[in-house]
């Protein structure tokens, strides 16, 4: 029984091939073609040795020219590029968090945004020492949001959420001088340090990369996650479907894409409005089908079971089906290509944020004040567009898989409660998982995250890796586009447990979970940090001792590098399938792939051979077990 119920890669490739034929027919440009146009990539850029921070250059480091005009050597240049890359990611995630904080600040019983998870709000208020006794819940929300917003620019102190980490980890951050201060400060300081004529010491630059990363993972991202839960509900297990086959031929298909749930939540809400459904029927459709792409998809899937049409590199595919009435986007990871591509079909490409303004799109600005109204406007546009479909071009590949998603830390604990014994165990802890790992039934866990990258056949690394881990009784928790990769082929179907090793199979069955746990979008990697912290606390060991590793096999964005930095700085070894433009400097590579272990107890491991990467991960987990004597 070797994964026969899981969609094989050949079928995925064949379906994409079919869609590319449509692209050819309508003369559309696709990323596959653009990759060909861009290959080979610039060797200097790829190894991180090109510096264009000032206008004396650009300087490119080679044997013949070992230093830039200012005299900076290759290590300084590679490290500066690396830190800027990190800062870009930290800024992006954190600004997403800030936007959610704003929404929470404006939440009120009358507005479209309300407090949905009061319990979580009160918990955070307590954590942050904000008065709750006898107060209106919206007053508390207001204060919590304000305190959160202040985390971005407070003049003194470090991030409030750091206290969630085990004490030992907090001490490591302190002693290594990487406890993140105000979020904006870490980003600004990163830009400052990398400005012409500032830092060129790779150690200092790498250290700041870790700190900037931490300001994201334990600051902005964590705020994005927590405040989204307060506003839209903390995810709990919900059944859904994934892959392009979730688009419906006889319905109005609206794809939500991007990252910020504020928009998609409204679209999902008003798509259930009887007025909208009636309008869709009037237009000859059976109803309205909302499906997601990228992390917006993860957000609404986790909270409402909205089907997931695909991940990052599937964003053009949804348009190529010819059955997409509208693709509505918020921020991040949106191909500008969607503009011209949508023009080849009837598809409306609707942008909604000043942060992501893209040519050839219809811009309908979305904010807290006009959310409901504009959501309806967007829905109407899409519905009225149904009749404009060209039936000749409609081709929805039949692929789809069942998935159970929504495993927030709270949900995982609840599931684990199900296997406790009330006569000997306590509730609400990670201990059942810890016991399963200690006894050897589960060997360890891998947190798989990250994007797709055209350098790798989409999802192939994610899926191949996961299968091998699962066969070896290693639990996989996922977020972002990695999550969708798993869901699309069926790895989040509870039935998939039957393909796992006997230990994991039994655990999945008893706990009633799929073998790959969907923890959310890319900001939700902060959930994984809390998970690791809680495991360490319940186990009584340090995070870096847990048989747990991180992995981003197909990563591509700056956000992913920021994530990598905070995951490693939290004490979790992180395996990458794509190099973060550091090949040019032995010293920078030395720090990232070995030296920082002395600082934070973990480092990066980079290998673009997926089999080797997997073997290394499994060995790594076994070594950690050995060290613990388990």
């Amino acid at each position: 029984m070797s994964w026969e119920g899981v969609i094989p890669s050949e079928e995925v490739i064949a379906a994409t091939e079919e869609l590319l034929k449509t692209a050819e027919k309508v003369g559309a440009d696709t990323w596959q073609q653009r990759v060909r146009n861009q290959t080979p990539h610039c060797g200097f850029g790829e190894s991180g040795t090109c510096c264009r921070i000032c206008s004396m250059g650009p300087c490119r480091i080679s044997k013949k020219a070992p230093r830039g005009i200012c005299g900076c050597d290759v290590h300084g240049i590679v490290a500066r590029n690396y830190l800027r890359f990190t800062a870009g990611g930290a800024a992006t995630h954190s600004d997403h968090g800030r936007s959610i904080a704003h929404t929470l600040y404006k939440a009120s019983p009358e507005s479209d945004y309300k407090v949905k998870d009061e319990e979580k709000l009160l918990r955070i208020a307590k954590e942050w020492e904000i008065e709750t006794e006898g107060r209106d819940i919206y007053d508390v929300a207001h204060d919590v949001a304000l305190a959160g917003l202040n985390e971005y620019g407070k003049p003194f102190g470090t991030q409030r959420f750091l206290k969630r980490a085990p004490l030992l980890r907090q001490q490591i951050w302190e002693s290594q001088d990487i406890s993140p201060r105000a979020i904006d400060r870490e980003v600004s300081q990163s830009m400052h340090m990398t400005h012409m004529g500032c830092s060129s010491d790779p150690e200092a630059l790498v250290r700041q990369a870790l700190r900037a990363g931490l300001s994201d993972g334990w600051g902005g991202s964590m705020m994005g996650t927590e405040f989204s839960d307060i506003l839209f509900g903390t995810p709990r297990p919900v059944d859904t479907e994934a892959n392009i086959g979730v688009m419906e031929e006889d319905m109005v298909n609206i794809i939500v894409h991007g990252h910020d749930p504020s928009l998609s939540e409204m679209i999902v809400f008003y798509a259930n409005d009887p007025e909208m459904i009636a309008l869709a029927k009037e237009q000859g459709a059976k109803g309205i089908n909302i499906a997601g792409v990228c992390c917006t998809s993860n957000e609404v899937a986790m909270r409402h079971g909205i089907p997931m049409a695909g991940n990052f590199l599937a964003q053009e595919n949804v348009v190529l089906t010819g059955a997409c009435e509208a693709i509505v986007v918020d921020v991040q990871c949106i191909f500008p290509a969607l503009g011209p591509l949508s023009k080849c079909f009837h598809t409306k490409f609707i942008t909604t944020s000043h942060i992501a303004k893209i040519p050839d799109s219809e811009f309908i600005e979305f904010d807290e004040a006009n959310a409901g109204e504009n959501a309806k406007k967007i829905l109407r546009l899409a519905i009225m567009n149904f009749k404009n479909r060209d039936p000749e071009l409609v081709n929805i590949p039949k692929q789809k898989s069942k998935a159970t998603v929504g495993y927030s830390v709270e949900a995982i604990k609840k599931c684990l409660d199900g296997v406790t014994n009330s006569h000997v165990d306590e509730l609400g802890t990670m201990k059942p998982l810890v016991d399963a790992v200690k006894s050897g039934v589960i060997r360890g866990a891998v947190a798989m995250v990250g994007c797709n990258n055209p350098k790798i056949r989409p999802d192939s690394f994610h899926v191949d890796l996961m299968k091998r881990l699962l066969e070896n009784d290693i639990l996989v928790v996922v977020s972002g586009c990695s999550a969708q990769a798993a869901a699309k082929v069926g790895l989040m179907d509870k039935e998939a447990a039957k393909y796992c090793g006997e230990g994991l199979k039994r655990v999945c069955r008893l706990v009633d979970i799929p073998p790959v746990l969907h923890m959310g979008s890319c900001v939700d990697i902060s959930r994984m940090m809390v998970l690791a912290s809680d495991i360490a606390k319940d186990w009584g060991i340090e995070i870096s001792e847990i048989p747990l590793v991180g992995c981003a096999p197909e990563w591509m964005s700056e956000k992913a590098v920021s994530i990598g930095n905070y995951v490693v700085a939290t004490g979790i070894d992180t395996f990458l399938g794509v190099d973060p433009y550091t090949k040019g400097s032995e010293q920078v590579r030395g720090f990232l792939q070995s030296g920082i272990k002395d600082w934070v107890g973990a480092n990066f491991i980079v290998n673009n051979d997926i089999d080797m990467l997997t073997t290394m991960m499994i060995e790594h987990i076994e070594e950690k077990r050995e060290a613990l004597g388990i």
Partner: protein, 713 residues
């Protein structure tokens, strides 16, 4: 701390080495060709058979089996390796045990140990498992901290209906505490050594083969069956040795959690290996671990009350009083009344109570239970009445047999000492009738008569009612009703079997008549008994109906296409495995031999009950073989398509006595033959019951009607 997986692997190796030693000794003593056969089973060495399809018939096969086991033990740190090693441990253990049975067929005779379980014992538990009367099994291994705790634990499980298997020193503890042990009371002292655990695993694996039709060698099939359907678990006392841990690995592989008070080198595994240091909390911890919920009916009596006490016998020397309607008058009767006529929970004793008579007295006992409720029908009266036997028997120290006005009840001295009196007898009936039939019984009152005059008078009145009911029953034929019922009560264990219950054909377990099924359907319209119409007959002689086939297809989830109600050769009805009797074709005489579960001897078919039973069961259709209830034998529909009961050529003597009156009447009506039962051969009229030639001679001698009938094949 020694790793859990290393403990399992070491224990598995140790057990295997011991098995090898046993085989060496046996081979040296008996040679490689000596036959190997565990008694009264068609699934020899069931553990080895189940997981690896290893067929063992002679000593040299044991060595091959050992090789298979050796291959299963791999020193790898993975759960797969551990599950394999754990099951290999049970397989090795079975080889050690079977060697004892080569030495002598009854190695445990004269000891306090039970050893191997017969197939009949496995089958006997089918019904109580299905109905939840036995909510689970526990295996208690080694010595509890104190004798008192051992006794508490055993009694605690027993009182919750949990079937208790004991291994090792806890047996001595139980003995010291005077605990009554044996299969009928559901506390079985299996054996002294840890390898006797193989008898329990064998029991489970045979349940999977018998009820679940799982094929030998279907590794996943067995795991799934035991995990989902057998609510078993283990309690192991400290110090737990590696070999016991290895057995635990096997238990966990099967889905049975292990609960231990050992903390030394012990690892917690959620819902699988649980450390509970307080032995007094073992029961609750264990039941939760295996998700067993005990249905509690609070009965206000001073005695323990559980299905475990159903098989208990009260001997004359322990008896306080004896109610025996063969000597004095008595009866049991249920009457449905108007709501206004019944006072709920009124319990009245008319006549002397048991503390007013001499020890050992024979007393009158008349029991009148009056019920009222909106959904109640007079047809339910006998259904409730027939349950009295079970209701009363479950009380510790009370024995009940019979029904109507042929009853015998004994109350032992212990129960009397504990304060049991006749009002408690009423309490039991009140509580059970109200809780089991809560949907239809709104009010219930009980009157117990021990007054001789009253009993005499009411017995006569009761008999009039019985006669009326019998008349109605006699008129109740398959033709006179417009619907049959399914019974899929067994599907918890036998997922593809469906019984079709008709007035003239009760469920094969003997426990569900058409009236029972009707009542079940009305009490629980979405429950196991569903209406099957009979509007589209295909062949009425065969009892083939489109409606029946449709029902069978639906409720067997497509496993079965069609059945006939009256034929054994053409699409016979399937069996779950817990049938009372099995009949099979005897080709030489063109007749059928019937054997009941209790009979362990040979039949003219050259097979024992166990072997015949293994031909069918688990929802498998085997033309020529059919499981059925005892009372179906005297039905006019029995073997109807093949010519009826005149085809019966052989039955065990004891079974003949059970069915004689009714069977003679049927034969008289169908064929005009008097005393037909005497024409049927049994083990007492043949020197070799397995010799069909001798059977033929006997039949010719008595002029059995089958000899005049058309050959079947």
């Amino acid at each position: 701390m020694k790793k859990l997986f290393d403990r399992v692997l070491d224990g598995a190796s140790e057990m295997m080495i011991r098995a090898e030693r046993s085989i060496d000794e046996i081979e040296a003593k008996f040679g490689p060709d000596t036959p190997v056969q565990l008694p009264e089973t068609a699934y020899n060495c069931a553990v080895n058979l189940a997981y690896k399809a290893t067929r063992i018939s002679k000593v040299s096969d044991l060595r091959d089996a050992l090789e298979v086991i050796q291959d299963m033990i791999k020193r790898r740190q993975s759960t797969d390796a551990i599950f394999n090693a754990g099951i290999a441990t049970a397989m090795s253990a079975e080889l050690i045990e079977v060697c004892k049975y080569i030495e002598t067929p009854t190695p445990y005779e004269g000891t306090k140990y039970h050893g191997h379980f017969s197939d009949a014992e496995v089958r006997e538990l089918g019904v109580p498992l299905v109905t939840g009367d036995i909510p689970g099994f526990v295996v208690l291994i080694d010595e509890a901290p104190t004798d008192e705790q051992a006794a508490e634990l055993i009694k605690g499980y027993q009182s919750r209906g949990i079937f208790v298997f004991l291994i090792g020193r806890i047996i001595d503890q139980a003995e010291r505490m005077g605990i009554n042990m044996g299969f009928p009371v559901r506390v079985v002292a299996v054996g002294q050594d840890i390898w006797t655990v193989s008898h329990i695993i064998s029991f489970c694996d045979r349940a999977a083969m018998i009820f679940g039709a799982i094929e030998p060698g279907d590794w996943d099939g067995f795991q799934e069956y035991t995990f989902v359907r057998l609510r078993a678990f283990v309690n192991a006392f400290k110090p737990v040795r590696d070999m016991t841990v290895a057995c635990g690995g096997g238990a966990i592989a099967l889905g049975f959690p292990v609960i231990t008070n050992d903390t030394e080198n012990m690892w917690r595994v959620p819902k699988s290996l649980i450390i509970q240091e307080n032995v007094d909390d073992f029961i609750e911890t264990s039941l939760e671990a295996r998700d067993i919920k005990i249905k509690v009916t609070n009965i206000d009596i001073p005695l323990a009350y559980s299905s475990a006490f159903e098989g208990e016998i009260v001997r004359k020397k322990d008896m306080q009083v004896d109610f025996d309607t063969s000597k004095v008058d008595g009866f049991e009767l249920v009457r449905s009344r108007d709501l206004s006529e019944v006072e709920d929970h009124k319990i009245e004793v008319v006549g002397p109570d048991i503390d007013e008579v001499e020890v050992g007295s024979v007393m009158n006992l008349g029991v009148l239970v009056e019920v009222a409720g909106k959904g109640l029908q007079a047809d339910f009266e006998p259904v409730f009445e027939r349950k009295f036997h079970e209701f009363i028997n479950k009380a510790e120290g009370i024995m009940h047999t019979g029904q109507r006005d042929i009853i015998r009840v004994r109350i032992n001295k212990d129960a009397f000492e504990k304060g049991f009196r006749m009002k408690h007898y009423g309490e039991i009936l009140y509580a059970k009738v109200k809780s089991e039939y809560e949907k239809v019984v709104d009010k219930c009152q009980v009157t117990i008569y021990t007054d001789a005059e009253k009993c005499k008078e009411l017995r006569a009145a009761a008999n009039e009612i019985y006669d009326k009911r019998d008349e109605r029953l006699a008129n109740l034929t398959d033709e006179s009703v417009d619907k049959f019922y399914t019974c899929i009560l067994c599907q918890a264990f036998s997922p593809s079997h469906v019984c079709i219950v008709t007035p003239e054909r009760l469920g094969l377990c003997g426990a569900v008549s058409w009236l029972d099924a009707k009542a079940t359907n009305e009490l629980d319209p979405t429950g196991p008994c569903q209406i099957v119409t009979k509007e589209h007959p295909i062949n009425e002689n065969l009892g083939a109906y489109e409606d029946v086939n449709e029902a069978v297809r639906e409720y067997s989830h497509g496993a079965l296409e069609q059945v006939t109600l009256y034929s054994i050769l053409e699409d016979p009805m399937t069996s779950c495995g817990c049938f009372e009797c099995i009949c099979g074709i005897e080709p030489m005489t063109s007749g059928f031999a019937i054997v009941n579960r209790e009979h362990t001897g040979m039949t003219p078919l050259g097979m024992t009950f166990s072997e015949m039973a293994s031909m069918t069961g688990g929802g498998v259709q085997t033309p020529g073989y059919m499981g059925h209830g005892k009372h179906f034998i005297a039905s006019k529909k029995f073997l109807k398509a093949e010519g009826g009961s005149a085809r019966i050529v052989w039955m065990p003597k004891a079974l003949k006595e059970v069915v004689r009156t009714k069977l003679d009447k049927t034969a008289q009506e169908l064929y005009g033959i008097e005393n037909f039962t005497d024409m049927i051969a049994d083990e007492t009229v043949m020197n070799d019951p397995g010799d069909p030639g001798e059977l033929m001679e006997y039949l010719a001698g008595v002029g059995h009607p089958v000899l005049e009938m058309e050959p079947l094949l």
